[in-house]
Structure formats: structure tokens, C-alpha cells
């Protein structure tokens, strides 16, 4: 399973069809990023024959730009609209990855998305799961999509 390719495909598809924003994928990061400043992170768990988590980490400006496009309105603060939109974005990404995993013979179910935001926070995963982090560039700045996954099969 090529996780990197699946993340890039899923993210591009959602940004093209749902958010209508141009994004350019970068090279997968060799080191994980765990410290965030002035950011919003959407996170959702995956469970079943593969378990893990999917997260999307966005600086506030990018989170607001995405929410503005998604909802078709101007957004100038990180409010409930933004946290809901970013949680939903994590949900859509994970849904897309789930489909790919299920087609490959897994049986994956999703938990419910949560959204974290703060001036300064860290986010780490406690597991030995395979980890892929992909940066994407937008006109408003860069965001990261992170997938951690361990499969039994």
C-alpha cells in the first residue's frame, strides 16, 4: 500500500471538489512535526483491521482561508465555523483513505473527528505505527497531512 500516494490523491480530490482551492503537494517529510504554533489541527481515529489516526495541521491563516472557500464566506478568526470545517476535512480525508484500505481487503471504521487549536501545542502519537507526513502549499501558506497506520494484514 502506497500511503503517500493515497494521501496526495485524497487531499487533491477533496480540495478540487469540495474546497475549490489549488494545492501543490510537496515531498513527504522525513521527520515528523509535533510542535505547532498558532495552528488548527483536525484529527480522527481509524480502527478495525488497520488502526491509526489521520491529522491535518494548518496555520490559522490557512485554516481560515480553507473555511472561507468551503463555506463561501469571509472568515477572519478561528471560530466554531473553522474548527467544524477542519474537523470535517479530517473526516473526509480519512473517509477517502478508508475506502482505499477497504478495497485492499481491510475493514476499517472511523471514529469522530476532533479539532484542536491553540497558540502553542504539541501533538504526538503513542505507537509504532507507520507514519507519513505530506506538506501541501496553498496561496495562504503550507499545511500538513499526517497519517499513522498499522495494519494486521
Amino acid at each position: 500500500m502506497n500511503l503517500l500516494e493515497n494521501i496526495v490523491d485524497a487531499t487533491k480530490e477533496i480540495f478540487e471538489t469540495m474546497i475549490i482551492m489549488e494545492i501543490i503537494p510537496g515531498n513527504a517529510l522525513s521527520e515528523s512535526v509535533t510542535e505547532f504554533k498558532g495552528s488548527v489541527s483536525g484529527v480522527i481515529g481509524l480502527a478495525g483491521s488497520c488502526k491509526g489516526m489521520l491529522a491535518i495541521h494548518l496555520p490559522n491563516a490557512v485554516a481560515m482561508a480553507i473555511t472561507g472557500n468551503f463555506l463561501g464566506m469571509a472568515v477572519d478568526e478561528v471560530n466554531d465555523d473553522v474548527t467544524d470545517a477542519i474537523g470535517e476535512l479530517a473526516n473526509m480525508l480519512a473517509g477517502n483513505i478508508k475506502m482505499v484500505l477497504d478495497v485492499a481487503g481491510n475493514n476499517v471504521t472511523l471514529s469522530i473527528p476532533s479539532c484542536i487549536h491553540g497558540a502553542e501545542y504539541s501533538m504526538d502519537c503513542v505507537s509504532d505505527a507507520e507514519r507519513v507526513v505530506v506538506p501541501f502549499n496553498t496561496d495562504s501558506g503550507q499545511f500538513l497531512v499526517e497519517l499513522q497506520l498499522q495494519c494486521n494484514c
Binding site: 481515529g45 491553540g118 504539541s122 502519537c125
Partner: protein
Amino acid sequence: MDLDLQQQIIDSTQSVFDTMLMMPLTPGSILAEKVYTFQKSISAMLGFAGEIQGMLTIHCPQEVAFTITSALLGVDVDTINEDVKDTIGELANMILGGIKDGFTEQGIQINLAIPTVLAGRSYRISGMTDALWITVPFYLDEGEFLVELKLKTPK
């Protein structure tokens, strides 16, 4: 659902503290309000899915997290390091594992995701506003921490 979730949280949390940490723990009354914002804290979030989906989160002030980590590992800690993150993440795994057993006895199957650990000066966790929330505080000599269970039945 024929399950007292508050009691499940208390039983599972107390069992983990009795057997793993050998620390006396006093449960408090379930919180009437949802807590979203945390200062100088560490939170371990663990998602689950299946016939019920949701998330278990443990919220600890830093000092309480240090105490729990010292009790589990037998080392002194005074910063949020890998040991503390691993300990609080593993605590979420163990507590939700106990709650999962309670679900299984009721014939409800769930599977667990992997724990994610947040830490920081100030952060806010939102989402799942339409889910059922149960937050139980627990008291140690060093302070209190929260165990929060959010869940809903898939549509």
C-alpha cells in the same frame, strides 16, 4: 444502551490506578458542563469505532501528569517529555480497554484507534458537539484530572 457509562469510567479508571499505579483515587461527580479549554495540561485522545463511535480523552494538568508518570515508571519527571506522553497515552489505552470490555459484555463491539497526546500552554479541543459527553473528575493528592467519554451511534 443498558450501560451506566459513568460507572464504567469510574470502575475502569480505578482498576487501572489500583493495579498499575497503586495510587488511591477518588472519583468526583460527573461534570455538568463540557470542558473545551486547557492550560499547562496534557491530554491523551483515543478514538474508537464500531457499533458505537467516539473518543476517550484524559486531561491532566502537568503536575498531575508528572505524578502519574513517576508512579508508573519510578523516575522523577518535571518536564513534558517522551516518558510523560507515553504514560498518559498508555493510560488512555488501558482505561478505554476496560470500558471496551464493559461494552463487549453488553454485546457491543468496538475497536480502538491509537492514542494521540496533546500538550501545551493553552489549547482548545472542539468537535463532537452532538455526541453524548460524560466527563468524570478524579482527585489525587496532587490535583485533579478528567476522564471524558464522547460517543454516538453511527447513523
